[in-house]
Point group: C2
Chain length 354, copies 2
Amino acid sequence: MIVNLLYWAPEEAEEKMAKPPNIHSVAARAGVSTATVSKVVNRINVGVSEATRQRVEDAIRDIGYRPNRVGRGLRKLRRSIIGMAIVDVSPSFLADPFTTNLVAGLSNHLSTQGFGLLLHGIRPHELKSSFLVRESEVDALCVTLSGSRRERLGYIKLLSELGQPFVAFQDQPVAAADACFVRQDDRAGAVSLARHILQKRRVKRAVMFISELSWPAIEQRVSGFRQVLGSKRVALDLVRCDETRAESIAAAAESCLARAALPDVFIGQNDQVALTVMQVLKRHDIRVPGDVGVSGFNAFPFSGFADPPLTTARSPAYELGQLGAEVILDRLETGHFRQKEHVLAVDLVAGSSV
Amino acid sequence: MIVNLLYWAPEEAEEKMAKPPNIHSVAARAGVSTATVSKVVNRINVGVSEATRQRVEDAIRDIGYRPNRVGRGLRKLRRSIIGMAIVDVSPSFLADPFTTNLVAGLSNHLSTQGFGLLLHGIRPHELKSSFLVRESEVDALCVTLSGSRRERLGYIKLLSELGQPFVAFQDQPVAAADACFVRQDDRAGAVSLARHILQKRRVKRAVMFISELSWPAIEQRVSGFRQVLGSKRVALDLVRCDETRAESIAAAAESCLARAALPDVFIGQNDQVALTVMQVLKRHDIRVPGDVGVSGFNAFPFSGFADPPLTTARSPAYELGQLGAEVILDRLETGHFRQKEHVLAVDLVAGSSV
DNA sequence: CTGAAAGCGCTAACAA
DNA sequence: TTGTTAGCGCTTTCAG
């Protein structure tokens, strides 16, 4: 089972505890000063002869020198690390595809600029005891918050007092501090989805499944649906469930079916919720879209392969992450945010579930 | 739209550029030495009078001091950060629920010990140019690799030469360097899934959908299925597709249906693949499990709500992450890995899709 | 073109 | 109980 890689140096084991090479080791080996090594490492091309550069590079390779970013960070007062705090009640804070795409976009773009992403999932009440807040570790923070508007304002105030720039994703802008708000247009997305639904079918009553925990983006979606549906005198009932657990969604759907007449359309706060509701309907032999329409939100890659393909809205999650990275790096560069807010469009994905 | 939080200090804006308080500011304000401040900050209770401690703590609060982890890291040669490199061809390297659960478990456990997680998704050929490898940034590395066995051995060799301990998830152990291999028992999981399938139905031919890119865990699953099926003279055909795109999975399934007779069972390398295949079957009015069986792997939360509920295997992804964190922190503490390998069990989830 | 030296924020050994 | 000081690895200014 265990493979031996014979070509590995056996002294590896003894070496383990040895101090790793530093800039002085390189300087000594190349017969130059540490200042010169630093210039070579940082590709500062003025004032280093080609011969010297070559000697230094050879020395670096020979002894396997890796520049220590901590020393550099201390000297430059720049860590080249951005913190990402995901405030969520669930320990599995990366469960939603929206979040993972956002993080991927953020991380990838930061990487291209030599920045790292320090990831931290925290429960709401732990934010102020997180080392990202209590100690000074990163150049800037990114956050996704949750909870009531009041709670979120509290978190934003807390972050503002850190004297560190931050980007808040999917939250409403606050004229405060050194922050930028990057989000998708959930409200407009809901509006176009609602209009599409009304165009497709006659609707008197709609039921929307939303999470127990309050998220700003969800509030926006509700508000968008309410605006369009309300203007046409369509009733919109909200049903709360733990949207991270399929059992909870299913139970909510079951009790909804048991308690009242079938509405004309079920709206999921996201695709996972909508698909789970569709499974429950199928078990009851209720046809979609024949008997009832179903709509999702934040299309995830597999929703198009549901039966029938889900009508939903495409979230620019990856792009939000990328944009957040650009915005924060620009802030570090220039000393200020160019804009307080960025909003990306949400596109309708017309399936055949309504 | 923009809310003003009136209670915020207006000098915030001017303060923005000011140097943040450091240990000297606190010392000066409290009228003590920096050594004393350090003791208070680090909760070293010997040799600090209660009165002094109180003064220092007041000063810290008054000026909003946050200890700088870079300075501390430099001094202690300990950064309290673990790097996680996810080697994947896809820019959306967090797409798989397995990976996100693993990362969540890792990150959460590290957090409890005051460690941060530096996340980096990289394409295979970029590993050696990643700053996690080129520069010295973290105390230890965690990796999930992909590619052929030969390529993976190359990556492991590269990591070994860094003189830094690392944990490789979901890979085969290699007697090398300062590493520990943490994985789930994919092979045994596949074996029990295969036995369950054979018990449930007569099988002459099985088709398994796997990714184009080679992953060690997938190889193990194939090997497990092959062992059991082969011993009963059941043919096992492999079909490759881009498992991150539902279109690619569906196309592979379609061409499989077009080209040959219906097999007795379709096996997905994971649940997303299996569920997508099930959708295609449904479109063709092929009944599951009546006409054909379907099995998944690495149960994800919503698989139980498929129609019919998917037969699959439960992956201990979150626990793998937690275990990896424990193992790496213990290594940093003690100077060595207690074990070269940890293997967690994969449990059968009997749905009704076979 | 190259080197000497100061200092980023912090901790720990030692001195008072 | 408290303070002084050296130095972690690096960059940058300034002098040579």
